[in-house]
């Protein structure tokens, strides 16, 4: 994803990689071990996103946080994605202002998939979803 000056002005900073799995509990140990991650065992249910999520933090500085995402029911947005292939799903960036970021995305003709909503996984901080013209699903998280 090409950064523009507007993105940098908006405090764009990489936050995590989202990875869809059938079961967080079943995948946790293998993920933590194979990528040297620490897991606190906390799994959060976000009914608005119809998913369970859990964060795995890197032991080594500079490595990314991994978010495992598990669909809750067949109506979950990631249920069919999991059925088709699962795996790598999205990148998440923190920004100062979602409105400013979405304006910048719109100017690049990216798809605004979901407007800003509070997310339980981030203690009510707002997120928005964008799909770029280069076919990358991006979650933006407001600081």
């Amino acid at each position: 994803m090409a950064e523009t000056m507007e993105d940098i002005d908006n405090g764009l900073r990489f936050h995590h990689v989202g990875y869809v799995v059938p079961s967080i509990r079943d995948a946790a140990e293998n993920f933590a071990r194979s990528m040297a991650l620490e897991w606190d065992g906390r799994i959060i249910h976000d009914p608005r996103q119809t998913v369970l999520v859990s964060f795995f933090r890197p032991r080594a500085a500079g490595n990314p946080v991994i978010e495992l995402v598990e669909p809750v029911g067949e109506e979950s947005a990631v249920y069919r994605f999991l059925k088709r292939c699962g795996g790598l799903h999205h990148l998440c960036y923190e920004v100062d202002s979602l409105e400013k970021q979405l304006e910048s995305c719109k100017a690049r003709s990216d798809l605004i998939v979901r407007r800003p909503v509070p997310a339980l996984a981030f203690d009510g901080r707002r997120i928005a979803w964008v799909y770029t013209r280069t076919k990358l699903l991006v979650e933006y998280l407001e600081k």
């Binding site: 059925k83 088709r84 798809l111 998939v113 076919k135 699903l137």
Partner: protein, 85 residues
């Protein structure tokens, strides 16, 4: 633009994106009936539709894209097509 033409175009694009034969795409086709239709592939479909028809979709419109027929209606509404019989 004729509504039947819009349907034919949407059908062709859907078949390309979901990688199924065009004959299997009907107005009733949905994520439940088309194996390759998941949330990410739906976004690829929206990108392809925007490019083909020179239109833009809002997030609320994308949420209405539950069937091919619903997609055709949305496109018709943007390009001024007639309602398909």
């Amino acid at each position: 633009m004729m509504a039947s033409t819009i349907f034919a175009q949407v059908r062709r694009i859907s078949a390309d994106v979901f990688q199924v034969p065009a004959e299997r795409i009907t107005a009733e086709s949905s994520p439940e009936t088309v194996e390759g239709w998941d949330s990410v592939q739906q976004l690829n479909l929206v990108l392809a539709l925007e490019q083909e028809f020179g239109v833009q979709f809002e997030p609320e419109e994308m949420e209405q894209m539950k069937t091919v027929g619903a997609i055709v209606e949305l496109v018709e509404g943007k390009v001024g097509g007639q309602v398909r019989a």
